[in-house]
């Protein structure tokens, strides 16, 4: 792994306050999920997962068809679809539109996709004001940080951090009471909603048969973002597609429960096009930006393509014993947790952070909770193989390759394996001396040293099993 990754992990592990914050926040979300998907609460939970997986599989395998159907339907309802291959094209589109309409102020709702693109930075660079309106995102935007968790962006900050930020960046008297901090944010953002020229959202789902975007939230900022400005732009990865509105009867039941243990989030918006004739309010213009940004690179791989089924619920983060220790900022990209670990290498190339697929004990808790049944451990294992193939090609990490070649050779020569075992045992302290705290130099290197840094080592037995068996 890179030094950077190692360092970030170490720093997070060493920060006791952060450890507590991550652990308790995820524990709460985890407990709530369990309550709402329990057999007495949702008897058809497993069937719904199977259905969701099947619908996603079908959609992804026929994605071009559904993209075109979606486009036709959006346009039939008076909206427009724009395809963008990357963040630059998205930004160019928004900037051109803003310029043409004389727009200066943009309100944004929480969108991992726009986070992935670094959209805000690009827009601000060109003189537009792009304000995050989800409370957690608003806070991390003020702090110039990345979100920490898919559904809890400011998980790592305390009310005192927020008080400092608000005083410094909003020029308000210091306030540490959480309800009052929320009221401050509401008041500031209310002005923005009412003055904004453009509202930018993501999309939880794109509904091909309706030409609609579906958005879920608890605060109400998405409703305002998509209702008060005259222009609404929804930016979504092409993989967000589902075929029919009726499929939402499956997906919405899974999304709220899996992510936060809510039966439904407070607001679920189903938006298709600008306001219709006779409708009193709503935007005059409606755009859906369909984003590639590397998704088409994931599509060809049949085994790993399932990574695109993700509905961004965050359940895998809350279940993952690794995420719960290293947190969101240890990950190299916008997406963290198990889903981040499998899509980052596929988008960025395995060499971007070669340690990432290995930062897992393969416990499988993620696969167990994934509402769309992505087999995350399987994809991790394939990525590990991809990393090693890339290393072999680039002639890197040759010592490790050699070690595993030796391992394979030893394990196919039983007598030699037995001899090697005896040799290793002879170097160890005699049996009966209990577990080993440390070993003298020059043995205190490599894996042995790493093991001993955290736990004791078992003593070598006097005889191996096969020796004991023979003497029976």
């Amino acid at each position: 792994m890179s030094v950077e990754f190692d360092r970030k992990i170490h720093n997070t592990l060493a920060d006791a306050n952060l450890q507590l914050a991550i652990y308790t926040a995820t524990a709460r979300l985890k407990e709530k999920r369990i309550e709402t998907v329990a057999p007495d609460a949702l008897p058809d939970y497993q069937e719904l997962r199977t259905q969701a997986n099947a619908v996603k599989k079908h959609t992804i395998e026929n994605l071009d068809y559904y993209l075109e159907e979606f486009e036709r339907n959006v346009e039939a309802h008076g909206g427009k679809v724009v395809y963008a291959k990357d963040g630059t094209e998205v930004a160019d589109f928004v900037l051109a539109l803003a310029k043409d309409r004389g727009a200066r102020l943009i309100v944004k709702s929480k969108s991992m996709t726009t986070e992935e693109l670094g959209l805000n930075e690009r827009l601000e660079h060109q003189g537009l004001e792009a304000v995050e309106t989800d409370l957690g995102e608003f806070i991390v935007q003020l702090a110039h940080e990345r979100p920490y968790h898919i559904v809890a962006p400011a998980l790592h900050l305390t009310r005192y951090d927020v008080a400092d930020l608000f005083t410094k960046r909003l020029n308000v008297p210091r306030e540490t009471v959480i309800e009052k901090q929320t009221a401050i944010a509401r008041s500031v953002l209310r002005q923005k909603f009412l003055a904004a020229d453009i509202g930018i959202s993501g999309a939880n789902f794109l509904v091909a048969g309706s030409g609609a975007v579906v958005l879920v939230e608890n605060e109400g900022n998405i409703r305002l973002t998509t209702s008060t400005p005259k222009i609404h732009i929804a930016i979504a990865g092409i993989e967000k597609m589902i075929p029919r509105a009726q499929d939402l009867a499956t997906f919405l039941k899974l999304l709220g429960r899996s992510g936060t243990g809510q039966l439904l989030t407070v607001y679920t918006s189903f938006l298709s096009g600008p306001r219709r004739a006779g409708e009193i309010d709503g935007p005059d213009e409606f755009y859906v930006v369909l984003l590639d940004n590397g998704r088409t690179r994931l599509l060809p791989d049949r085994g790993k393509r399932q990574s695109l089924y993700c509905i961004r619920c965050g359940a895998c983060l809350n279940a993952c014993p690794v995420y719960r220790k290293i947190g969101g900022h240890s990950f190299p990209w916008a997406y963290s947790g198990p889903i981040g670990a499998i899509i980052t290498p596929q988008f960025m190339g395995v060499s971007h952070e070669p340690g990432l697929p290995f930062a897992s004990s393969l416990c499988g808790a993620c696969a167990e909770v994934c509402p769309v049944k992505i087999d995350i451990p399987k994809v991790l294992l394939e990525l590990r193989s991809d990393v090693k193939k890339a290393e072999a090609r680039d002639q890197r990490n040759r010592l490790e390759k050699l070690a595993f070649r030796a391992f394979a050779w030893l394990m196919t020569h039983p007598r030699l394996y037995e001899m090697a075992g005896k040799l290793a045992a002879s170097a160890a302290p005699p049996d009966g001396s209990g577990w080993i705290r440390g070993v003298p130099a020059p043995m205190n290197i490599g894996p042995l040293r790493a093991w001993l840094s955290q736990r004791d080592l078992p003593p070598a037995p006097a005889r191996s099993f096969r020796e004991m068996w023979r003497r029976r």
Binding site: T412, P447, W469
Partner: protein, 241 residues
Amino acid sequence: MGNRVSLFVTCIVDQLFPKVGMDMADVLERLGYQVDFPENQTCCGQPAFNSGYRDEARTVARHFLDTFESSECIVAPSGSCTSMVAHHYAELFQKEPETLERVHSLEKRIWEFSTFLTHVAGVDDVGARLDDVVTFHDSCHGLRELGIKDAPRRLLARVQGLELREMQPAEECCGFGGTFAVKFAELSGAMARTKIDAILSTGANTVVALDLSCLMQIQGALSRAGSKVRTMHLAEVLASR
């Protein structure tokens, strides 16, 4: 099914915890099975597979297939090794139809120890006795890949003198994860310490599990923490009289 079983003790038992293999054989023999130990066995190949070295894993897997070719029934004291064979060997040989055939045959013949006892031997009570307060750790591969949850608990419930206290949470990973334990040592250690907190909260004297990789991680952490709590493999508990 006849009454012959072959032991696949696993490399970790062979080299580090041989008593577990002997205890497992003991329990099986008491139940009337004829137990053999195919001498050519070494390892299932999981370390290579998990580290991304599939060619090397295949090499070891082929050796395993040869070693156990004629074993009607194979029993292993490990959920992760059983799962490697029963679930991941097929992935390795997708492009070799003949080997894949042999793999599919093997998948039906290999059993994790506790599942063998409850599902094949059809017993819960093996006549064991151990006066102790224990807690049980659900090893991840056994739990999530093989679906093992009840079998070990049913067996422990019938051990005379034994009190089982469930830890909260029982299903959380101990942090071993194979080479993960040394590649991400600090992280693995942190996960182990969370696990032993849960263990110590139960007040149990002993932690029982199906996998020695987990037990090695847990015992290593307990020992480092200066705790007197000990670990035992299920086979050792069931062999106790």
